[in-house]
């Protein structure tokens, strides 16, 4: 359209466009503090042109669309580092709990108790006829046994609580998946500059993807036909509007209730990163390793002490008496034999049937450092265990920090692209306001021009 009325239209279009742009600015400013908000920019474009005998002339401005400033590559970086952070954050937290379980003081902790236990065999060797020495020995043995129980039970309950978290996380993953899937129903795929984007819904989906990436290692792929797919490794978790579920099966292995996770294909879930991976590794590998070591220690203790004790003679001349109950050899159940619990005089110190002989007591006390566990002494084996706990814990703490820094970097970069800068918005606001005023000026000018024409006689 040309002519004065065309001019009027042009003015109107400018007013509308710049008011719209101001709206977007206002939206950015209002949402600046919201977690996960992606700033929007109005794309104003030329409103077309028409042919005239004097060449093409433009027809004003129009709103081409609203651009959402998001960089998929930075998103990927952020999510990858989130996955690693989730993994190590979980491990660091749990390992610090585990460390606390093993803490040694001067008279508590398995190491100190083992020292006291074997020392009291020597005290018995110093006075092999003494019931008093036997009472003291039994007390030390009880202390050692109780400590084994305590730590073993703490480990088990840590594993159990991790298992609860595993279930919670799996449920959360399934929940997030269905929410993303329902968002996918109405959202397009990887297009960045679409004209009719539902920015709020896209922000929501990105927030959900961020949360998911903390829990498992995800790969987000846009589909040409619209929508996105989310993969965990090679497992398709979300395909457009369809969410596939992880399934959970309860298993019980004695005192522990383990939840096993299966992918949508029915195979056991294998993960490369994320909180869930951290939890599963803690439960099934790391904490189990410590439990196994404790059990090795308690089994060696029971077996070796008993074998020497049975060869010894008690104060009443009996032999073949167990010191520890031979039916309970694991760390959570190790116990003194009924004989010893009932009557401390059944503790055998002698190698022959003579009250003053202390041969067996000396032999048993020498077990502490004898190379009975893979060439190491029991005390040495334990020292190695707690060094390993320390190393594992240190590594988890350091990794958590490293990935925390990485995630923070990625977050900052993302903010750089998608975050709102109030100063920038202020400038835009001034810009659009001026343009609006100019457009209004134009309208009044054209109006008076029309007035002029209309008043021609």
């Amino acid at each position: 359209m040309s002519g004065l009325f065309g001019l009027l239209q042009m003015g109107k279009r400018s007013l509308v466009a710049h008011q719209f742009a101001q709206n977007i600015v206002g939206n950015n400013i209002s949402n600046a503090g919201i977690e996960g908000y992606t700033r929007q920019t109005t794309q104003l474009g030329s409103g077309g042109s028409i042919e005239t005998p004097w060449g093409q002339i433009g027809m004003g401005v129009q709103v081409d669309g609203v651009m959402r400033s998001r960089d998929a590559l930075i998103d990927k970086m952020y999510r990858d580092s989130s996955g690693s952070l989730g993994d190590w954050e979980t491990k660091s937290f749990s390992m610090q709990n585990v460390e606390a379980m093993f803490t040694e003081s001067d008279n508590d902790g398995i190491g100190a108790r083992m020292d006291s236990f074997f020392n009291s065999w020597q005290d018995l060797a110093n006075a092999p006829e003494s019931s008093q020495a036997r009472l003291a020995l039994r007390e030390q043995a009880q202390g050692l046994v109780d400590t084994f129980h305590r730590i073993s039970n703490l480990l088990t309950s840590e594993r159990q609580s991790i298992n609860t978290q595993v279930v919670n996380v799996a449920d959360r993953i399934n929940d997030i998946s269905s929410r993303i899937a329902s968002l996918n129903e109405r959202l397009p795929g990887k297009v960045k500059l679409a004209l009719k984007q539902e920015n709020d819904a896209l922000d929501e989906r990105d927030r959900l993807l961020d949360e998911l990436s903390d829990l498992v290692d995800i790969k987000v792929i846009g589909r040409d036909e619209g929508g996105i797919a989310v993969y965990i490794g090679s497992i398709n978790l979300i395909e457009g509007p369809h969410a596939n579920k992880l399934s959970i099966e309860q298993e019980s292995n004695g005192k522990l209730s383990i939840s096993k996770l299966y992918d949508p294909g029915g195979n056991e879930l294998k993960l490369n990163n994320g909180r869930l991976k951290g939890l599963l590794e803690l439960r099934d590998v790391q904490l189990k390793k410590y439990e196994d070591r404790l059990n090795t220690l308690s089994r060696t203790l029971v077996k070796e002490v008993n074998s020497y004790h049975k060869a010894g003679y008690t104060l009443e001349g009996e032999t073949d008496i167990d010191f520890f109950d031979a039916a309970f050899i694991d760390a959570d159940s190790i116990n003194l034999s009924e004989d010893v619990l009932g009557n401390p005089d059944k503790i055998a110190a002698a190698s022959i049937d003579a009250d003053g002989d202390n041969g067996q007591a000396l032999l048993i006390s020498a077990l502490k450092d004898a190379p009975l566990v893979d060439g190491d002494g029991m005390r040495e084996f334990y020292n190695t265990l707690i060094t390993e706990v320390g190393v594992d814990s240190r590594f988890a703490i350091d990794s958590e920090e490293t990935y925390g820094v990485l995630q923070n970097q990625a977050a900052l970069q993302r903010e750089g692209v998608s975050g709102v800068s109030l100063d920038e918005e202020m400038v835009d606001m001034i810009k659009y306001e001026q343009a609006y005023r100019a457009a209004a000026r134009m309208v009044t000018t054209v109006d008076s021009m029309i007035e002029t024409i209309l008043s021609l006689k």
Binding site: A32, G33, R39, M95, Q96, E99, F102, T103, E104, D106, G111, A112, D115, N119, Q122, D123, A125, N126, A127, P128, E129, A350, I352, A354, D355, G356, D357, N358, L362, S365, A366, D369, R379, Y382, N383, T384, I386, T387, E388, V389, G390, V391, S393, R394, I397, N408, A411, L412, E415, G416, S418, G419, V420, S421, L422, D423, E424, M426, V427, I430
Partner: protein, 301 residues
Amino acid sequence: MRISNKQVYLMIQRNIDRPKTNFLGLHEKLSSGRDINRFSDNPYGAGQVEKIRAQLSKIEQYQRNIESGLAVLNQTESAQDRVESQLIRAKELAVTGASSAKNSSDRIAIAEEVNQILENVLSISNLKFRDTYLFAGVNTTEKPYTELRDANGDITAVTFNADSSGEIRHEVADGTYVTVNTPGSNMFNLKNGPIAALIELRDDLLSNDIPAIRSSHDKVGDAFDNVLNEHIKIGSKTARISRQSEQYSTLTVDLTAYLSKIQDADIAELAVQLGMNEVVQRAAVGAASRIVQTNLVDLLT
């Protein structure tokens, strides 16, 4: 480079949190006095600490063992002292008794005293220490020497109970054992020990037989030598383990110092770090307050 407001806030938050986290770590070390408060603070150091603790515990035990052994040895030595002085007196009596200046009734009186010495030595042979018989080998709850008496109540013979040999050992160093008891047979050997010699001397005095008295005088002398030799052996054993105990005392001090070096915090250094940390914290907070104040909105009115 584009900077959004949130970026600024994120960075500020992180930079303020860091000195705060450091502060927590320093505070923990200062209030516990320890550099190592958990294994992850220094895994290798924590392992060392455990090793040293185990060693200190072992040494403490060896000290106890040595103390216990010394008690037995000292008791043995004092018993030997008494036996020796009794035997010296017996020798003197034998000399007097062998003198031709004495007559048979004198000899009967001397024999009385020798008999008394015999009773003393017998009771020493059954000496108890801490409720157990000192010279009974490993059968410490059974009396080692039993006497036979005649119608007058005098000792005629002494028998040795069960198996009173056997060594009682204590561990005083890794794999090093010391025998702390003295089997009765070493001191009161029934064939040629003090008891047999004394019985013979008494009987010879009673029978007024001078050459026999001279011969039993020699036997008492031999018995005395044996006891003395045994005494000397025990003396050197005692000296040896006492020396070991002293070495342990020194070692304990050294190990404890080493333990402290690994474990304990250097308070002065921590105080300095704390001060530096505070400076950093103030700077971060100060800078933050300057940045957040600058805003275009304020200027556009």
